[in-house]
């Protein structure tokens, strides 16, 4: 999906669909909003989900998920989930994702790459749940690689599987790893109950909880704080909204 400026001064949103498709929602406070909808059962063996998000300078995009994602038993197969984000100078992305459940037998490689130009900000939520109720869960390896103004800001690879759960130093028995990632701004609120606030070396913060299910230690309040922090750091946000010249592209 891409959000770009048009000559007419309105945000132009381009959405291209595949396994997922984007649906434009009404804008809110100058923020382009797009719902991400699965067009067929996800996530199955052999699926190769690639989502590209491009937000032009000064524009704001919120991605809204309609349902969580379950990576099903792949019976020896595997799937990939690749998200590539480019945010122009001063652009903003908010993606408060719903839980990503790794069912027993699933084998998923997730890669999230974010390139932020000067002044850009992103608020991302990732909730990984190991197994549906009563399951031990499958295997997920997820890498987040973010850079801001050409400098690496966050590079983290995590395993979410029964071995990581059993390891005290990795998931420490937790079935659910819930993270709010704020890039380009700092989270300045107190840690949520049972959660940790990790201030990155560069301008960014991870807010993280370890839980027994997707509702334990809910980070909804942390997302709200992160959004406020991102908005407070905004440079051209108001000006961009006024010019209102952008386009949103779509997932494939």
């Amino acid at each position: 999906m891409s959000v770009a400026r048009t000559a007419a001064g309105r945000p132009r949103v381009d959405l291209v669909g595949g396994l997922l498709s984007g649906r434009r929602l009404p804008d809110e406070d100058g923020t382009v909003r797009v719902a991400l909808v699965a067009t067929q059962a996800l996530l199955l063996a052999g699926d190769d989900v690639r989502i590209t998000v491009e937000v032009d300078e000064g524009l704001a995009l919120e991605v809204v998920e309609v349902g969580g994602t379950v990576a099903y038993d792949m019976q020896g197969g595997a799937a990939t989930w690749t998200l590539d984000v480019h945010l122009g100078a001063g652009a903003l992305l908010v993606w408060d994702a719903l839980p990503f459940v790794v069912a027993t037998g699933a084998d998923v490689r997730r890669t999230t790459s974010l390139t932020l130009d000067e002044g850009a900000r992103a608020v991302l939520r990732e909730t990984f749940v190991l197994g549906r109720t009563g399951e031990t869960g499958g295997h997920l390896t997820t890498t987040t690689r973010a850079q801001l103004a050409g400098r690496p800001l966050l590079v983290e690879t995590l395993a979410v599987d029964p071995a990581a759960r059993a390891d005290p130093a990795l998931l420490g028995g937790a079935r659910c790893l819930d993270t709010v990632t704020l890039l380009g701004a700092r989270y300045d609120a107190d840690p949520p109950a049972g959660g940790d606030v990790l201030q990155l070396d560069g301008p960014g913060t991870l807010v993280r909880t370890f839980g027994s299910d997707a509702h334990t230690g809910d980070l909804a309040a942390a997302v709200a704080h992160a959004r406020r922090a991102a908005a407070a750091t905004a440079r051209p946000a108001e000006g961009a909204a006024a010019r209102s010249d952008g386009a949103v592209a779509a997932p494939r």
Partner: protein, 270 residues
Amino acid sequence: MTDVVGGRRSDGASALLVLAMLADARLPTGAHAHSAGLEPAVQAGLLTPAPPLTGGRGTGHPATRTPPATGASTAPRGGGGRGGEDVARVPALAATRLRTVTATEAGAAVVARHLWLDRRDLAPVEHAWAARTPSPAVRDAARRLGRGYLRLALALWPDDLDGAFPAGSAPPRPLVAGAIGAVTGLDALQVALLVGYDDVQTIASAALKLTPLDPATTTRWVLDLHPAVAAMAADVAHLTDPDDIPSAGAPMTDAWAQTHARTTRRLFHG
């Protein structure tokens, strides 16, 4: 003044002696004040015997956090240690670190060595390391160690290290270790082995201060971890690009470090 110092550039015996010297706990760098994450882990309950899978957060996590999964068995299980402590979790922690945070440090050291051989800017290595180290408490500890290492290194090899680290910079220890490796003839594998061995030995040594143990037991742990150290070092020794430094995280280790940094009752910096 540095030209009389042994160990420069590719004399095998000299390099080995430098390696032994750098790995020696008696090296005056302040390393004895660090536990490589063991004290934060022990404070969080690492040694408290609770089955990880059913005990949920009871495993090594402060009581303030999310309660264990419902249906969890809270019955203590014998862990083979004194007083019911599961001391086998100490070498297990070291092994996990070798696959995660220590691989990152070793990778950073190897790349720093590579760049400093040609006297190239080390800032990209520091940025890459910092981006892979999300916990400020862990970064602070590494930089504190780096300071001690750098002070010593600048006294020993002032000319060779001139310009490696701008005045006022706070490089983490692996960067300093890498730069020392470059000017003393250590190869990439040796630098990675040094970082891996040091982490394991730091944990073993700290364990003796944190829980009653026979020093032969902790030394056995180190010996048994030699293959894991060697494997990790072999995995990172070829690296030359900061972007390729390993990034596998240990999220609960980060949480422990943050909690530990807020406590006052502690023996170690981190």
